[in-house]
């Protein structure tokens, strides 16, 4: 019993802080009816100076088109290890991409920004489509994109 209690204490000591370090965040990106093929979308985080911190999701499966996501490409040099395991399909016109993930708590309310680059074949690239603060007060506040994104918001 003592061993069990000790094990329980150890699990609590090791496990609970880990849980407290992440927060479930849902990012919702609704595209306009732009009437073209599916959009490639990079969802990533920068600090307040625009310095790249990491990618949260890449919508679009063919790496040869990632160069059209200009800011993301410049920041990552197109390194595919940045998006290992976090890629999915491109997002069709008028459709909504919902990405749910456990985000490191340290990124929230700490001056970081969430950014989206978007590109549609033969319709132009839109780097910096969305730039929004990553704060608990900005959560739930929709932001309009400057090209293909009708609205972007996140909840936590």
């Amino acid at each position: 019993m003592t061993k069990f209690a000790a094990a329980l204490a150890l699990v609590a000591a090791l496990g609970l802080p880990a849980l407290a370090e992440a927060r479930e965040v849902t990012f919702t990106t609704k595209l306009k009816q732009y009437g073209g093929p599916g959009a490639y979308i990079a969802l990533y985080v920068t600090d307040g100076n625009g310095q790249y911190q990491g990618t949260l999701w890449m919508a679009g499966g063919k790496s040869k088109y990632y160069r059209h996501l200009g800011d993301w490409k410049r920041a990552t040099q197109g390194d595919l290890r940045e998006i290992d395991g976090i890629t999915g399909a491109s997002v069709g016109s008028g459709r909504t991409l919902t990405v749910k993930l456990d985000l490191a708590d340290a990124l929230i309310d700490a001056g970081y920004q969430i950014r989206i680059d978007a590109a549609v074949e033969n319709m132009g690239d839109s780097p910096g489509e969305i730039v929004a603060p990553l704060t608990s007060s900005a959560a739930g506040q929709p932001v309009a994109g400057r090209g293909y994104v009708e609205s972007f918001s996140y909840s936590m």
Binding site: G61, I86, G92, L101, D102
Partner: protein, 146 residues
Amino acid sequence: MRHRVLIAALALTTLGVGAALADDDCEAPMADWQPRDAVKQMAESKGWTVRRIKIDDGCYEITGRDAKGDDIEAKVHPATLAIVEMESEGGDDDDDEDDDEDGDEDGNAGNSSLVAPDSQSAAPLTSPAPRNPLLNGNSPPSAVVQ
């Protein structure tokens, strides 16, 4: 004089095209190109099953399956046969054939090459947990397109 202007304009146009082509992934004179059989042999030596070899962006592009059975698309330098770019999609059963010469696999010619084959699907897309410092590695992100 007019001829000189035309020649200068033509030269600039040609240089511009050259600059655009310089963005391609592979550059090798045709004389240095290895035959398709050599590409196939290289692929098979890696345990790949070759479905198709085509030329894209000045490179050979191999579509097929790797030794694990995952769908692959590998871009190979035509002279050295070095792998320039490699994409793998585990468990992807869709047909990667692309005969419309627009570089995608959607079956449409022209302006659809950014469309993934399942972009219209509303099914959840989950991936293995990444080694990403922004995320809690215990639970992989999930994404849905609706």
